[in-house]
């Protein structure tokens, strides 16, 4: 009997401490929430919805990252703006990126029910929003509380397109420092491959009989917000048409990339010969072992010469084999 009890104890000790398994998701709450495309300019703005899905108050440090091109250098601006939001139990919050939330609650609610203030982004902003759940001391914690949506709205026509924010779950091994390791120990890793079902450029929409254009927005998973070093990733694209014929292309994403597939010849329907395609985005390893080069992204389709659009989340497969790292600015 004693031997049996001892066997059970040894078995328990020898089972590896399996951390809670998590995967990047657009369906489940996370401890990091990424909105890969936020725009505020003369033509459009973005409505951000972010919700606390837990029964406790949560705080989050949020960062707007402006990926617009510097007109002088044509490199991404990489301008950061950070703020903190506070969400009570199950509380939803909403703001327009170009307007933010004022310091004083406009609807007269008490401050402990008010998520803001949230600064507005500047005119011409195009980039991402990233929020990290923290405790009262602003240390990152693995409380999977955040869900979110972003609605891009056309200023002129009121046309809308919507996608879901991407949640990165926090895991049991989070040590609470400002170096967030997306390594399936502190946080889930970024996906190994992103998948897109697309219609080829200038393919005629089978219902409207007009050309379709697709835009893909990609952001690197890794970034150093303390030293303001943007993440970068080389991405291999494999494109398959309906005849299973493959084509390939590669591109580099630094800070933020808004890619119109019309600019990439292999996406043209004249070359591919079929209406539909399947594209796989695979980040490439390199010699920089201090961080990975994972990516996240969303896609948009535009029909009728851009008159209407719809947004969609990319699919994910697997976990990145190289851990990504997000370094938050230290408190001072």
């Amino acid at each position: 009997m004693r031997l049996r009890r001892l066997s059970a104890l040894v078995g328990a000790l020898l089972i590896p401490c399996v951390p809670a398994v998590g995967e990047v998701s657009t369906n489940q709450p996370g401890a990091i929430m990424v909105f890969p495309k936020v725009v505020s300019d003369a033509n459009q703005d973005t409505i951000i919805q972010i919700t606390n899905a837990t029964g406790s108050r949560v705080l989050a440090r949020c960062f707007y990252i402006d990926g617009a091109d510097n007109p002088t250098t044509q490199e991404p601006l990489w301008v950061l703006t950070d703020f903190q939001i506070s969400l009570t139990m199950q509380q939803p919050a909403v703001w327009v990126a170009g307007e933010g939330l004022p310091a004083v609650p406009p609807d007269g609610r008490s401050r402990d029910l008010y998520p803001g203030p949230v600064p507005p982004v500047g005119d011409g902003f195009i980039g991402e929003l990233r929020c990290v759940v923290v405790n009262e001391s602003e240390s990152p914690i693995s409380v999977n509380a955040l869900t979110g949506e972003a609605t891009l709205i056309n200023r002129v026509t009121g046309a809308t397109r919507k996608y879901q924010g991407i949640a990165i779950p926090g895991l049991a091994g989070n040590n609470g420092d400002n170096t967030l390791l997306l390594n399936d120990i502190e946080y889930s890793s970024c996906p190994r491959v992103l998948l897109l079902n697309n219609l080829f450029t200038d393919a005629l929409d089978p219902i409207l009989n007009t050309a379709v254009r697709t835009t893909v927005s990609l952001v690197p998973c890794s970034m150093d917000l303390e030293n303001t070093v943007p993440g970068t990733a080389t991405v291999q694209l494999e494109v398959f048409n309906e005849f299973e014929q493959p084509s390939s292309f590669s591109l580099t994403v630094t800070c933020f990339a808004d890619i119109e597939l019309v600019d990439i010849p292999i996406f043209n329907v004249a070359l591919q010969g079929t209406l539909a395609g399947h594209t796989r985005f695979r980040p490439v390893f390199d010699e920089h072992t201090e961080h990975g080069h994972g990516i996240l992204g969303v896609a948009e389709e535009f029909r009728n010469g851009g008159q209407i659009g719809s947004a969609m989340n990319l699919h994910f497969i697997g976990g990145n084999l190289q851990a990504d790292v997000i370094i938050l600015p230290s408190a001072f």
């Binding site: 369906n27 899905a53 996608y163 005849f243 497969i317």
Partner: protein, 433 residues
């Protein structure tokens, strides 16, 4: 001493064995890994709508379906299109949305019927079709003389061509479910991609397009589009095995267990989470240059269905709602559905139609804030989980010179959380010889 060492060795080995069994069990147990962002072995499109003639006075509507094999192997799928279009009880030929559209004495009754088809997809192959037209022949069927490289074909191992039928009628409201099957036997199977943990290789989307053609050739047609990802259920290690069915009247090979103790597929979620604007909320942007009200529609379907008996004897549930506004205030309500239901949020707790909507707990006039979080919990049955899936659509007032009815739409997937002990059954129809 040797006895003590022997005992110690036996203890360690026994512990390792126990650990391996427990870990293996953990790996194969079902999780609530329903996802709209990962390939799966069961793929579900909760809302397909067709109205190419504008029968209901709306603009023409059709749905583009996209499906892709994400793996590097040939796969097959069996699919079922469920027709939930309502008809008048006193005129079964007449489709309807509400009973007032029927002749006096008639009621608008939803139906439940299905048709099925199968398809073989080559490696990484995408296909797309309109729901109203289907896809009579696939790109690599050899019908048009086209074949994929290395002789890959969309013909089944028995030589049968792949094809997709159009939906059963026009107008049409319903859903579609596809189950990944072995390309040789056409029996349910796991996925082939180890990167996805063999959980399934099917990925899909639906784009609902509205079109109002202008009579004058100088005028631009009014168009609108919204898109959502199909929902994937991942296969467990038991998928493809023939297991005793919890319902002993069902042949085991037709019984797919979704969730539960012997899950062959991950279970549908315990709770759905819907982040939404309250109905009639005015969302202001750009210093009030855009000041548009928005309403939302929720479409729900059951996770489990019985395609063998061609009757809705598994679907349907009572849904409990908890609704939170931005003031952390909580409201609740409940409603039920039987097969497929699309409902404006304000109609969940009021009479169908606009009457009473301002008094709904989903209305901005009651809630006082723009947005809410609603948690939807279907009530479990004594045997089965009665879980559900769904999508959320928003209808925004916008420029009427560009968009049909002056309405712009979006579609989005819901969030999921939790799982439940009871599973659900997806009972497929037998393959006809």
């Amino acid at each position: 001493m040797s006895t003590m060492m022997g005992n110690l060795r036996r203890v360690i080995l026994a512990g390792l064995a126990a650990g391996a069994v427990l870990t293996f069990g953990l790996v194969n147990d079902a999780r609530a890994d329903v996802a709209s962002d990962q390939p799966g072995a069961i793929l579900i499109w909760p809302k397909i709508v067709v109205d190419t003639e504008g029968f209901f006075g709306d603009p023409q509507i059709d749905t583009e379906i996209q499906v892709t094999n994400t793996s590097n192997a040939v796969i097959a799928a069996r699919c079922w299109i469920v027709n939930a279009t309502s008809h008048c009880s006193n005129d079964p030929e007449q489709a309807c949305l509400e009973s007032v559209e029927c002749a006096p004495g008639g009621l608008c009754i939803p139906q439940w019927s299905d048709i099925d088809f199968r398809m073989t997809l080559t490696k990484r192959q995408p296909v797309t079709w309109n729901a109203s037209q289907g896809l009579p022949s696939f790109p690599c069927s050899g019908v048009t003389g086209d074949n994929c490289p290395f002789g890959q074909s969309n013909r089944g191992s028995d030589g049968s061509p792949s094809s997709v039928p159009p939906v059963q009628e026009d107008p049409f409201f319903g859903e579609m479910k596809c189950v990944q099957v072995d390309p040789n036997t056409f029996q349910p199977s796991r996925g082939f991609d180890p990167a996805n943990n063999f959980g399934g290789d099917l990925k899909g989307e639906a784009t609902i397009i509205r079109l109002e053609e202008r009579d004058n050739s100088n005028d631009t047609d009014l168009v609108d589009a919204r898109k959502y990802n199909a929902i994937g259920l991942q296969a467990t290690g038991r998928a493809g095995q023939v297991l005793p069915c919890p319902d002993p009247t069902v042949p085991p090979e037709l019984c797919l267990q979704i969730g539960g103790p012997n899950a062959q597929y991950n279970g549908c979620p315990n709770v759905l989470i819907m982040n939404h604007f309250f109905d009639d909320a005015f969302v202001e942007t750009h210093a009030r240059r855009i000041d548009a009200p928005v309403v939302s529609h929720l479409t729900v379907i059951p996770c489990g269905e019985d395609f063998r008996l061609q009757e809705n004897n598994l679907g349907g549930a009572v849904m409990q709602f908890l609704v939170y506004n931005e003031f952390e205030q909580r409201f609740s309500t409940s409603t039920r559905f039987d097969c497929w239901r699309e409902v404006q949020l304000s109609d969940i707790d009021t009479r169908p139609g606009p009457f009473g909507n301002p008094q709904s707990i989903f209305n901005v006039g009651v809630q006082g804030t723009l947005t809410g979080q609603s948690r939807i919990r279907p009530v479990a049955g004594p045997v089965f989980g009665n879980t559900i899936l769904g999508v959320l659509e928003e209808f925004w007032e916008c420029d009427g010179s560009r968009h049909p009815d002056g309405i712009c739409t979006t579609a989005s997937n819901l969030h999921f959380t939790g799982t439940r002990e009871q599973g659900d059954l997806l009972i497929i129809s037998p393959e006809l010889p």
